[in-house]
């Protein structure tokens, strides 16, 4: 971390970049916040630890409007989001200086809490995590505290960067589509009950949307009057369904599966399932596709072949 900080400072000081987009030390190890640093003094608060989970690529939309280059720290999976934003002209490559930072799987304080620990006073980002709580000390294995998305890691390679710093590790140890398959295997009634229970928790806080690098619309369709769809009321279960289906549809073929939506949901809704279902379908029907892997790739929903499957495939045994 010190080396990364020093390098960033060097680039800031020699004028290569006008600011650094990274993480600022929080109240504790586990709550670093995304931050812009413009001075050496500010850089004192720069931190990069295993709790730095936030995908910073979306902040580059605003940073691209600023004078000078922004040094941005991207983890391997974040670099896919960056590329996708680049492909959609939402950010300016010339305005970014990318340090591809090493990632060995990111930790989540929620996961630590789910292990039953309460009143956490401090925690380390080591393996195992040493946790000090109001009600006693404990240890949690690194893998157990890792974000769900890191168990289906896209790999340790950055798809775009100017320079690399630190080692990465492919932390995948689970089948990316296992949950999707489990739901596909359910009866319609079970599926409906599952999603009804999950989506009824939704409070329409829009955290999933606002954190999503693919949801980069200046004005979301759910905030505009274009479709009479600007609803904030969760009076009826339909609204959540509409919101999440359309959101998933709008990012279909564009979602890099960065997992930020599920990470930030205050109600713990496994929102990535929607996106991953689309990814699985796209892979099955239109060929393997990873959004953000190639800036020049044609998106699966903005291209076609004359031999594509008919929509009826869904009712004829589903897409497998």
């Amino acid at each position: 971390m010190q080396g990364l900080k020093a390098r960033a400072l060097e680039l800031l000081n020699d004028g290569t970049v006008s600011r650094v987009l990274g993480w600022k030390i929080g109240e504790n190890t586990y709550d670093p916040e995304p931050a812009f640093f413009e001075t050496a003094e500010a850089m004192e608060q720069f931190v990069y630890n295993n709790f730095c989970a936030a995908n910073l690529s979306k902040y580059m939309i605003e940073a691209s409007k600023l004078e000078g280059k922004t040094l941005v720290c991207l983890k391997p999976c974040d670099s896919y989001s960056f590329n996708q934003l680049l492909a959609e002209h939402r950010i300016d490559r010339e305005k970014a200086y990318i340090i591809g930072v090493g990632c060995k799987g990111k930790l989540s304080i929620e996961k630590v809490k789910q292990s039953g620990l309460k009143g956490i006073l401090s925690v380390t980002d080591t393996d195992p995590l040493k946790v000090e709580t109001l009600y006693g000390d404990a240890e949690v294995a690194y893998k157990d505290a890792m974000l769900d998305r890191c168990h289906v890691c896209k790999g340790k390679e950055h798809v775009v960067y100017d320079e690399l710093y630190g080692e990465s590790e492919d932390t995948s140890d689970a089948d990316r589509f296992e949950q999707v398959r489990a739901i596909e295997a359910m009866s319609p009634e079970e599926k409906f009950a599952f999603f009804q229970a999950e989506l009824s928790k939704c409070i329409r806080c829009n955290a999933c949307r606002n954190v999503c690098p693919a949801c980069s619309c200046r004005k979301c369709v759910f905030d505009s009057n274009k479709f009479d769809s600007a609803q904030k009321a969760n009076v009826d279960s339909f609204e959540e369904k509409m919101f999440h289906i359309i959101r998933a549809f709008h990012v279909a073929g564009r979602c890099t599966d960065c997992g930020e939506c599920s990470r930030v949901c205050p109600q713990g809704i496994p929102l990535h399932l929607f996106n991953r279902k689309f990814i699985k379908d796209i892979n099955a029907l239109y060929g393997e596709y990873q959004a953000g892997a190639d800036v020049d790739a044609k998106g699966p929903l903005t291209s076609f072949t004359t031999e594509d499957a008919e929509p009826g495939v869904v009712s004829q045994g589903g897409i497998v």
Binding site: P188, S237, I245, D281, P311, G318
Partner: protein, 145 residues
């Protein structure tokens, strides 16, 4: 609704202007009947149909939504229905994924010459929706009273 009363579904059919709407016209001029439950909305091309329109129909009380366009390869705009095909496959798959009965939505390609197909398609679709019954999984309860 009393049990004796026959279930009359609300069905929205989006038809592209060049093929399917004309196919529906041909069904009409050939006097090929299909249930009055089907109401047609004319769109220039099937690719004009936004998934939001389909969800909107369900929200407001539709029991089934069918989308008809030119046969792949015959699109008046040459490629519109190819996009439709991918989009709707994705949408239908998602509806299936969240537990909506998958017969409630359908895409059929009906040419201007296929009045018979239009009529049989609609008869078949209405029968399917009647067998599925009222849409309860994808509707806004506020619209149900």
């Amino acid at each position: 609704m009393s049990v004796n009363e026959e279930f009359r579904p609300k069905i929205v059919a989006f038809c592209c202007n060049w093929c399917s709407y004309a196919g529906a016209d041909l069904a009409g001029s050939s006097r090929l009947a299909y249930p009055a439950d089907v109401k047609i909305i004319r769109v220039p091309c099937s690719c004009r149909v936004n998934p939001m329109f389909i969800l909107r129909a369900f929200e407001k009380g539709a029991d089934g939504v069918i989308l008809c366009g030119c046969h792949p390869g015959d699109c008046h705009y040459s490629t519109g229905n190819y996009y439709t095909r991918r989009r709707m496959t994705m949408l239908f798959s998602m509806l299936d994924f969240i537990g909506v009965e998958n017969g409630r939505t359908r895409v059929e390609w009906v040419s201007a010459a296929e009045g018979v197909k239009f009529s049989t398609t609609m008869n078949d679709f209405v029968a399917k929706i009647r067998s599925l019954g009222k849409n309860v999984r994808l509707g806004d309860l506020r619209c149900k009273d």
